[in-house]
Symmetry: C2
Subunit: 121 residues, 2 copies
DNA sequence: TATTATAATTAGAATAATTCTAAAATCAAG
DNA sequence: CTTGATTTTAGAATTATTCTAATTATAATA
């Protein structure tokens, strides 16, 4: 685990935001002014390949990175705002239906956030 | 509903693939040789905004478009191959926990497809 | 039908996110 | 120290998607 990898992992684990690579890069730069974007992308990819972080693909915005503890996401269909929520774990149910071998799952729930529900339009 | 919009919608509804904008563009070009990529993107976006198609964001590949009937996706963590599966509808459960106002949800289940399970590596 | 307004399409440039390449720097082991 | 492997760097390249402005098609109206 390299110097940068460790710090990137910490940033993700200590933040409650769902940061993009760019945002992580800017945070990391505060303590490591010499670091470069490609390094952040490289490290994010290897951390992700090793199951140490989650990667969230949300339509219309760059990938976001998240902690691995089990939780789901509530996403505003209009403005894209993303928040955490913990629906109960359905891995057991899934395995009953699909058999063993499930690595993980992503559950994204779409709604209109209070703000967007206001401006009905 | 314009000429192109209708054909794009039909392509998606009649195909079992999960096509990217590019693939849809190539298909459409067979019957409409003059059509242009931007038109496909425009139409895909308006169809999606009107809830007539689904858009799938999968890490590492361009967005894919899908029919709207309720079903979930099984995705190979290694090669990204995506297939359909119908786990039971959990909207009711979700609403019980989160209250009304849920528009939809995406459930993506990650596993290793038979091919990738072979080459354990 | 001619006229106007509205919306859709086009071509191509622009943007934004991410990956790639090759060189330089760092690290780890013998 | 030397060697080899890995990581980082700088910057170019790629890819998907959006934007812009001009053009064309469609629909609505006089």
């Amino acid at each position: 685990m390299t110097r940068y990898a460790k710090q990137i992992l910490d940033l993700i684990n200590q933040s409650d935001r769902h940061m993009t690579a760019e945002q992580i890069f800017l945070e990391l730069k505060k303590s490591e002014p010499k670091v470069v974007q490609a390094t952040v992308y490289n490290n994010l990819n290897t951390l992700w390949e090793n199951g140490m972080i989650r990667k969230l693909s949300v339509t219309g915005s760059p990938d976001r990175y998240d902690k691995v503890y089990r939780h789901d996401h509530l996403i505003c269909k209009k403005c894209g705002t993303l928040s955490d929520i913990a629906f109960h774990d359905i891995t057991g149910d899934l395995e009953k239906q699909l058999g063993e071998g499930i690595i993980s799952y992503d559950l994204n729930i779409f709604y209109l956030c209070p703000k967007c529900r206001g401006k009905s339009e």
